[in-house]
Symmetry: C2
Subunit: 429 residues, 2 copies
């Protein structure tokens, strides 16, 4: 029998609802806190920077939330994404493990970020917002929000971590082609940026700083809201489309994963692929399912961080989040996987980690790029530097399975391709 390489879903089979894991958590996450009052954040608090619908989703405890038709129609540009049997990688490793990956790199921006950019732009436009602001590290998220904004007639300002801005010139051109406006952060455009530059004119920026700048503009400019590409519950909610599709696709081939692996930055791609499967572990039905978050050794919040209330940004503008964190002023070293250089882990993932449902590993850069190169040659797709963390972890697990002679089923998320990050590969080839 010939191997089916790609397990496709027809558009008509695309899930019509997102999955909210809060509904199934025995220990609900601690609330976000308003940093001034120290009281739980309310929808009204959130509506200062987010539209009503997003604020509601952030606090929702509903299990299933409808995907609006307008969002669904744009998802169809690239979704459902293929589930792929990594037969080339299996062969290269000579492992008995069956390796599958969900290929989110087929999105036109090259990553999973569009899954939440589209609904966020939609809800903002629907409520009459005209301008969006956001931050971006590697540029995946900024590109996604730029095209999502174009779809719904919003203009988008992106604060891009300065080091990335100069290291990744193609990324800013992508954003600009889509109609986005891009600032190297810290910038002279905001008070917060100016303050930082006054102290340190050479500051290369960080995600925390870029968030502060984007939030400042959203607070001070009329008809403007802020959009975040990871960490928060509504972002994770939108990303569950990944796992919901993967679940249907695994059913088609009659497999259920023993292990699900994803790289970990703010948590959205990891939660997106794992939460729909994790619900079967929460229910007790799939007790042995193991979830592994793959972190860079340079920024290991789940592996080595502390669980406590901390800010989501570096200047303390956001609500306090109960989470695993390295401290909101933590400055990770300049690894290539810019999308993983974030100090905290978000509310849902952190609670689930605390309760033992999520494992974490942290990996050095060299091992990740070695894995990325091996994968490129075996499967043809050059992975994003972020995704190489997942692949390195998959390789470790597949080799363990080989040693144990176990035909394990491993699923991972290929969160994006690396074509716009080729400079990162230079020192490793």
């Amino acid at each position: 029998m010939k191997l089916t390489k790609k397990i496709l879903l027809e558009e008509s089979m695309m899930p019509t609802k997102w999955y909210n894991i809060v509904a199934d958590m025995e220990n609900k996450p601690l609330p976000l806190l308003n940093p001034k009052s120290q009281k739980p954040v309310t929808a009204e608090d959130l509506e200062i920077i987010f539209p009503k619908a997003i604020a509601e989703q952030e606090l929702s405890t509903e299990r299933w939330i409808d995907i609006p038709e307008e969002v669904y129609n744009i998802y169809k540009i690239y979704r459902p994404t293929p589930l792929v049997r990594a037969s080339g990688l299996e062969k290269a490793l000579d492992t008995p493990a069956k390796i599958y990956f969900k290929n989110e790199s087929v999105s036109p921006v090259g990553s999973h970020k569009l899954n939440t950019a589209v609904p966020q732009a939609y809800y903002n436009a629907k409520e009459g917002v005209k301008h969006l602001t956001t931050e971006t590290g590697a540029g995946q998220w900024g590109s996604s929000l730029s095209i999502a904004g174009a779809h719904f007639g919003l203009d988008v300002k992106v604060f891009m971590v300065k080091n990335s801005y100069y290291a990744k010139p193609y990324r800013q051109l992508v954003m600009k082609t889509y109609g986005g406006e891009v600032f190297a952060s810290p910038s002279e455009f905001t008070q917060c940026g100016r303050d930082i530059l006054a102290k340190d004119p050479e500051c290369g920026g960080s995600l925390g700083i870029a968030i502060s700048e984007a939030v400042e503009v959203a607070l001070n400019q009329p008809n403007t809201k802020y959009a975040l590409g990871s960490v928060l519950n509504h972002v994770i909610l939108h990303q569950t489309i990944i796992g919901l599709e993967a679940e249907k696709q695994m059913e088609i081939v009659g497999d259920f994963p023993d292990k699900i692996i994803a790289c970990f930055g703010g948590g959205s791609n990891m939660a997106g692929i794992t939460f729909p499967f994790l619900r079967h572990k929460l229910s007790g039905e799939k007790k042995d399912l193991q979830i592994i978050a793959a972190e860079p050794a340079a920024c290991p919040k789940l592996s080595c961080g502390e669980f406590k209330y901390d800010f989501g940004d570096s200047s303390g503008l956001t609500p306090m989040i109960p989470m695993y964190t390295l401290g909101h002023n933590f400055q990770p070293s300049q690894i290539h996987a810019a999308g993983l250089r974030y100090h905290g882990a978000g509310q849902l993932v952190s609670q689930l980690r605390k309760d033992g449902f999520i494992d974490a590993v942290s990996i050095e850069q060299q091992e990740c790029f070695d894995a990325g190169i091996l994968f490129s040659r075996a499967e043809g797709i050059i992975p994003a530097p972020e995704s190489t963390h997942a692949i390195a972890t998959v390789i470790r697990e597949a080799l363990k399975a080989k040693e144990a002679g176990k035909e394990e089923v491993i699923l991972f998320n290929l969160s994006g391709h690396g074509l716009l990050d080729m400079k990162s590969y230079e020192q490793f080839i």
Copy 2:
């Protein structure tokens, strides 16, 4: 009823044979000529630089040629590619035309070039060849042959036009990540390169020079053959997988194109999508089908060239090809669509053009990039500079249809995405 955005084919529906249009041409193309003897080229002549199977395909008159299983299995990494309803573009143009595009940009290298790189690497490996050489301009072809080589254990040497080598650093990194060896051409590696550098150390290179270097190595190094990415019949044969899939996909939605449009460089993507449909025009069954090749105004061989015997390269090493040509020494200006800067049109396309089956238009760069930006925002995908020529032509035709109030069916080939060519967009945004 909800619109189906992407018309997918299951892997099991992928065509198992390529289509050779020669079998259905009433006027067969004139033969290639050996430049020394002025006699028709034989398989033996071709086997000096190509493997036997490729030489045979180049001269074959069989209508259908089996796709080897090993090739088929690698095609499955990205094929069948989606046929997409360009509903966003239709809306942006407010046209009654129904616009479809075949999305070849989903290949891991970002273009259709892999369709022929895979079989070429396969046939070489099968005949015991260990090393392949080739030239590349923009880098799409060099990337494709590098990963195809990796799949079949061949090492690949790519001579990349020196100007492109430095202007497109991401492209050479893609090739190197796949394991290819890349030389800035002219290089010190070949006699021909050394001769040129001795005369002009600053020489920026050309496709003609790069071909000469690649052929020199193939001729002088043991166990080494040469591979070409366009123009020749065997390349076009492999590319017919595009149109054969599209034909099945159009059947699924119950449409047949009135017009098929593709950009035109060496002809392989244009022939690839159109020939399977064109056979129904050759048979008299679909008399009204119109095929339009979209050329850059800087290199309009089909629109303004002369039909005659000419060399395929600038230094006169290749066989003489009966074709529309601007002259083998023609130097097109430095437009961004490097893949369309070729002086000739190939044997099959030229004969069909001469016999009135193919129309051609030529378009200025500004109109193409305007079209590319409009398409990016409407459909989310940033097209390759080459592909924008097809899109600009589609827009012209869709606006004509609007004026005439005609619900025309237009199909075009999105030959590649532009993510590795973002520098090209810089001056237009």
